[in-house]
Amino acid sequence: MKLAIIGGGAAGTAAAWCARRAGADVTLFFDRPGATSLCSGALDQLPWEQAAADPPLAPDVLAFTAAFEAWTVGTRSARVATYAGILRPTRGADTALLDVEAIAGKRVAVVDAPIDGHDGRALARSLSAGAWATKTGTRFEAVAVSGILEPSEERLPAFDVACLHDSRERAARLAECLRRADARADAWLVGPWLGASAGAAEGVRKLLGKAVGETTSPPGGVAGSRFEASRDALLSSLGVTVRRARVHALSGHASSFRLNVAGAEHEADAVVLAIGGMASGGIALSPAGAADALSPSVRAPVLVGMSGNVLMAASGGGPDWAALGIPALERVGILGDGAAARGAEGVFVAGDALADRPRTVLECVRAGIEAATRAAGRD
C-alpha cells in the first residue's frame, strides 16, 4: 500500500504516523510552512473561547502527542499566558510553555529584560489584572533580570535569542541570571525564547529546579520551529520518505494516482490531502470538478472554492477576503458534510483543507489520523 500525503503540518504528520503504524509505505510532500508552523504553542481541541466543555481526547490522538517530543497533552486542561497578556485555558501545550494551573496561588516572577518584543512589566500588570489570577490569588511580578544577553546581542530578534538558548552554556547562563535576580520566586515566566529545539526548556528547568516556561509565541515564533524540529525527528524515526517539493497536480482515481511533483511523476495507491486552508494555496485537481467528489474525513460544513482548477479550501479567520473582492479566495462551492458528499475513492482530506473556520491543532491531528486510518484500509 503506497500512500502519498500532501502537507507537513499537524494533520499530515499525524496521518503519516498513523499510516506507518498500519504498515503503509508513506511518502510525505510539503513545500511551504503552513498554519502549524505559525502556531502559538497552545494545543486546543476546540477554539479556546468555547473550550468550557472540552470532550475527552481520542486515544489515538493522545498516543500521537505522546510520541511527539515538543508537545505535552495531559489528562487535565492546562493554562498558559499569551504574549499579549491573558491567561487562557488549553488542552495541551508546547512543553516549553509555562502551565500556570500547576502553580496557582503562588508567586510567578515575570522576566523584565530588554529582549525583542518582550515587555515584562506590561505582561505582569496585564496577567495580574485578569480574572483567573484574582480568583486563585496567583501573583505575577515583573523582576528585572540582567546579563541574559551580551551587549552585542541586545538587538537580536526573539527567534535568534531562542536559538542561543539551544546551547547548554547559554541555557546555564540564563538559569544563573534568573537565580541571581530572584531566588525565592515559585516559578518564572519568560518570553518565547527558551530554545528553538524541543527539550531546551527542560534543560533550564532542571538547572534551576523550578517551573520555568514561556508565554505563547507570536506568529512565526519559536513554537512553530519546535513543531518542525519534532516533526522531522518523528518522520525520520518512522521511516517516512519526506520530499520537500510542491505537488503541482493530482490525477487518477480509485487506487491509482499520479502526482506531478516539480515536473516528475510520483505514483500512489491512495492520497491524503492535508494542504491547509488559507496558508496553502491549494493544488491543481484533474479532472476539473474533482473537488465535488472529495471524501472529507471530518464531519463539518465544508467550503471549497475553485479558482480555475486550483482547489481553494477557505477556512476563514482574519478579514472577509471575499467581501474585499480577492478573487483567488472566492467561495463558489459548498460540499455537504462527510455523510452527504460523494466520495472520491482513494482521496482523503484532513485538517484545515476543509473547514469553515481555522481548525485547532488537535482537531487537525484527529482528522489526520482518521484520514490515514481510512486510507490504509483499517476502517
Binding site: A35, L38, C39, S40, P47, W48, E49, T82, Y83, A84, G85, I86, R88, D112, P114, D116, G117, D119, R121, A122, L123, R125, S126, A129, G130, A131, R155, P157, T216, P218, P219, G220, G277, M278, A279, S280, G281, G316, G317, G318, P319, W321, L324, G325, I326, A328, L329, P358
Partner: protein, 556 residues
C-alpha cells in the same frame, strides 16, 4: 457682537476639523493671541491631510489652467520649509518619454513647460529641471523599460502630512488653544441669526457639552455636508465635490526617483520614494460612501499598479503591503471630470445664509494650507477687531526650531541609529524631549515596532503630548505598525502601553490593539498578493486568539 460685560464667550474662535486647514487656522489664530478651541470627530489628520501623496509640490499640473494655484503653492512650500525643515525631504521626479511618432515634440513641449515651472521653483528652493537623453534616463533608473526618446527631471518636496498637522495642533495648544480629538460637533448654538458656539459630544466618554465663541469655523473638508447638516445651515457656496484618492505602498524604496506614468485613461500617476518606502498614487473619483471608513478597493490598486508597470514592470514583483485612501474636498462644480476640478480654496461667510459668525473653509491643497489659514484668520481678525498680523510663516513649528543630527542623538542617548533617524524626522529638535524620557526610565529605549522602528519613549510621548489615545492614534503619529507585518509584532505591546498611560485596564489596551489590526488588515488586503493575504489571514487569527476574542468584556 456679544456684550463682553454681560457674557464673555468661552473662546474667541471655534474650529471644527483637525485636518491641515483646521489645525492651520487654530495655530494662526492662537499665534495672534486669540483664544481657540478645536474639535475633531476622529483624530488629527484622519482624512485627506493624512492620506495625501505626502508632497507639498508646486502643482505643475495646474500651471496651464490655474497658474495662481501653482504660484501660491510654490510660495507657501517655501514658507513650510522655513518653519518645519525637519519634515521635508526632496523627491526628484523623472518623466520618461517613450519613442513614438511625435515624441520629439512631446519632449520639446515638456522642456518648455518645465522651463516655465522653473520660474516658480526658487520660491520653494527647488532645482531647475533638466532634459535628459534616453541613456541618462536609463542610467538614473535602470528599471524603466521601453524604447526611450529621452526624459525630464524636476524637483518636488515630500512631507508627512500627519506630522505637519500635529505640529500645527501642538503649536496652537502651546499658545493656549484647547484641542479635542474624538469629539464631534453635534450642532450650533444660536441667538437668532447669530452663531454663538457649538454643542459637542465626546465620542469616547459619551459626554456632551457646549462651548461658546465669537466665531465658528467649519474646516471639515469632505465632511462639510455632515457639518452643515448638523448646523442646519444650507449653503450652496460651501459645497464640496468629494474626490477619493488612493495610494498603494510597498515594503521598501523601489527607486531613487519618482517616476511618472500614464494610466489606461491617460491620467498621470507616479511611483514615488516616500520616507522609508515607495508609494504609487493616485486616483481621483467622486466618492459618496462612508467618510469615516473610506478604504481602497482591489480595482483601484490594479489600476495604479498596471499603470506604473508599463514603464517600471518590476513593480509587479515588489511587495505591496498596504493602501491609504482619502477624500479631497474639492470646490464643487457640475460637469468637469475629477482631475479638471480647481484645487483653489475659498472662504465662505455664512452671514448670508442666516448664520452670522459661521465661516467655511472650502477646497485647498496641502501645499497651500498655511496661506489659506492665514487668509481665514485675517477674515476673523477683521471681524473681531484684532490687528495682529500672521506670523505662521516665520515662527517655527514645534521641532523646527533648530536642526539636530540624528547620529549624535543615537550616540548621546544610546539608542538604535535607525530609530534615532526616524525619530528625528518626525520630531525635529523635539526629539530630545522624547529621548530625555529614556534618561529617566532607561527601559523606554525598547524598540516596540521593529519595522519602522518606534521606541517605547515615543509612544509614551505622543500619548502625553499629542493627544494619542489608542493604538491607531499612535500609529498615525509614529508610523508604528505601518510596515510589512501590519502591527502583528507591535500592536499588543503598544496597546498595553497606551492603556496604562490612559489609566485604563489592560483589556482596553488589547481591544485597542485588535481594533487597529482589524482596520489595518482591511486597508492592507486590497494590496496584498494572494499568498501574502493567506498568510496574513492566518497570522491575524493567531494574534486575535492571543489577545482574546471576547475576553476583554469579561476580564476587565
Amino acid at each position: 457682537m456679544v456684550d463682553p460685560v454681560v457674557s464673555r464667550p468661552d473662546v474667541d474662535v471655534i474650529v471644527i476639523g483637525g485636518g491641515v486647514n483646521g489645525t492651520g487656522v487654530a495655530r494662526d489664530a492662537s499665534l495672534r493671541g486669540l483664544r481657540v478651541a478645536l474639535f475633531e470627530r476622529n483624530d488629527i489628520a484622519f482624512g485627506a491631510s493624512g492620506n495625501s501623496s505626502g508632497m507639498i509640490h508646486g502643482g505643475p499640473r495646474y500651471l496651464t489652467y490655474d497658474p495662481d494655484v501653482t504660484y501660491t503653492s510654490c510660495l507657501d512650500s517655501g514658507h513650510i520649509q522655513h518653519i518645519a525643515p525637519h519634515l521635508l525631504f526632496r523627491i526628484p521626479f523623472l518623466m520618461p518619454v517613450h519613442e513614438r511618432p511625435g515624441s520629439v515634440f512631446e519632449l520639446f513641449g515638456l522642456d518648455s513647460f518645465f522651463s516655465l515651472y522653473d520660474r516658480y521653483q526658487p520660491l520653494k528652493h527647488g532645482k531647475p529641471h533638466v532634459r535628459l537623453t534616453a541613456e541618462e534616463v536609463r542610467r538614473l533608473e535602470p528599471g524603466i523599460v521601453g524604447k526611450l526618446a529621452g526624459g525630464i527631471t524636476f524637483d518636488e518636496w515630500g512631507i508627512d502630512g500627519v506630522r505637519l498637522c500635529i505640529g500645527s495642533a501642538v503649536d496652537a495648544a502651546e499658545h493656549g488653544a484647547e484641542i479635542r480629538t474624538h469629539c464631534t460637533v453635534t450642532g450650533l448654538l444660536r441667538e437668532g441669526q447669530r452663531v454663538t458656539g457649538v454643542e459637542f459630544r465626546d465620542l469616547r466618554s459619551g459626554s456632551a457639552g457646549t462651548r461658546t465663541a465669537r466665531v465658528v469655523i467649519n474646516a471639515t473638508g469632505a465632511w462639510a455636508p455632515l457639518t452643515m447638516a448638523a448646523s442646519a445651515v444650507e449653503s450652496p457656496r460651501a459645497r464640496v465635490r468629494p474626490g477619493k484618492g488612493i495610494h498603494v505602498y510597498f515594503d521598501r524604496r523601489l527607486t531613487n526617483y519618482a517616476i511618472a506614468a500614464k494610466a489606461i485613461d491617460g491620467r498621470q500617476v507616479f511611483l514615488e520614494p516616500w520616507q522609508n518606502m515607495s508609494v504609487i498614487g493616485t486616483t481621483d473619483d467622486d466618492f459618496y460612501g462612508n467618510l469615516d471608513d473610506c478604504i481602497a478597493t482591489t480595482e483601484e490598486v490594479r489600476y495604479l499598479v498596471q499603470a506604473v508597470a508599463r514603464v517600471f514592470p518590476a513593480v509587479q514583483d515588489a511587495r505591496a503591503i498596504g493602501t491609504w485612501a482619502g477624500v479631497r474636498p474639492t470646490l464643487w462644480e457640475w460637469g468637469p471630470n475629477e482631475d479638471a476640478l480647481s484645487r483653489d480654496h475659498r472662504i465662505v461667510d455664512h452671514a448670508a445664509d442666516g448664520a452670522d459668525g459661521l465661516y467655511s473653509m472650502v477646497g485647498g491643497k496641502l501645499a497651500s494650507y498655511r496661506l489659506f489659514a492665514e487668509e481665514m484668520t485675517d477674515e476673523v481678525g477683521r471681524r473681531l477687531g484684532v490687528t495682529a498680523k500672521s506670523t505662521s510663516h516665520t515662527s517655527p513649528l514645534p521641532g523646527g526650531e533648530e536642526q539636530v543630527d540624528p547620529l549624535t542623538l543615537a550616540t548621546e542617548y544610546g539608542v538604535d541609529p535607525t530609530a534615532a533617524t526616524r525619530l528625528e524626522y518626525r520630531h525635529g529638535s523635539r526629539s530630545r524631549r522624547v529621548l530625555d524620557r529614556i534618561r529617566d526610565v532607561p527601559s523606554e529605549a525598547a524598540v516596540v515596532c521593529p519595522c519602522e522602528p518606534v521606541l517605547e519613549a515615543e509612544i509614551r510621548y505622543v500619548v502625553q503630548q499629542e493627544w494619542a489615545s489608542n493604538v491607531e492614534d499612535v500609529s498615525r503619529r509614529t508610523r508604528l505598525g505601518s510596515g510589512s507585518c501590519g502591527g502583528m509584532r507591535c500592536a499588543a505591546r503598544c496597546g498595553a502601553i497606551v492603556s496604562e498611560m490612559m489609566g485604563e485596564s489592560p483589556a482596553v489596551g488589547r481591544r485597542s490593539a485588535l481594533d487597529f489590526m482589524e482596520r489595518a488588515a482591511r486597508r492592507r488586503a486590497p494590496a496584498l498578493s494572494m499568498f501574502q493575504a493567506q498568510q496574513e489571514a492566518l497570522a491575524i487569527a493567531d494574534v486575535r486568539s492571543s489577545l482574546g476574542l471576547e475576553s476583554w468584556k469579561t476580564e476587565s
